[in-house]
Symmetry: C2
């Protein structure tokens, strides 16, 4: 049974979808997700991996968590974050494919 109705989508639903895209619309957050794709990681380790500051990374992690994309686990002094929603990688895959097509087309335009 198909439950999605493509003919109409409430303003609220559109806002939620846009909100998900907004969370992914930040290169640093995408980079953090890529780090976590390998496996769970502490805030310090993530901070080093993405070459940003700790407060900035913490803030982005909170945004990702609020959106349900990552989850965390405390161990002693450290907090380990992990991917909580694998669909983000499928999204990135789709975008990469589309971008590749887009640039191929434009490249062809110039012979």
């Amino acid at each position: 049974m198909k439950t999605t109705n493509h003919r109409e989508m409430s303003a609220e639903a559109l806002s939620l979808v846009a909100g998900r895209f907004k969370v992914l619309a930040e290169p640093l957050r995408l980079q953090i997700l890529q780090v976590l794709e390998v496996g769970e990681s502490s805030v310090t380790a993530i901070t080093n991996a993405v070459r940003s500051t700790q407060p900035n990374v913490s803030k982005h992690l909170k945004i990702l968590q609020d959106e349900g994309l990552v989850a965390k686990r405390s161990e002693g002094n450290s907090v380990f974050y992990r991917i909580a929603d694998e669909s983000v990688f499928a999204l990135c895959e789709l975008v990469c494919g589309s971008l590749k097509e887009k640039f191929t087309e434009r490249s062809v335009m110039f012979g």
Copy 2:
């Protein structure tokens, strides 16, 4: 042959992917895309359908076009826009599915 390398992604590539998400991170632009999903449409018709102002819709259409998501065709006085990249609908589908899961989980949390 698989061409995408998941281990590394350049800062530039991440910016492009984030940029695509940014374009989709606006409810009104998603609404415009939904209107165009049905078929090509003039700026005036789109403006009426999404209940916004003409200049605002024109601006959003330009953003969508720059990203390669829509294309246009002039006919007399009017300009007709159409979907140029169907992948956006697959993206929205994925997000909708993920959001549904997310809210189902949270709903279950409350019994």
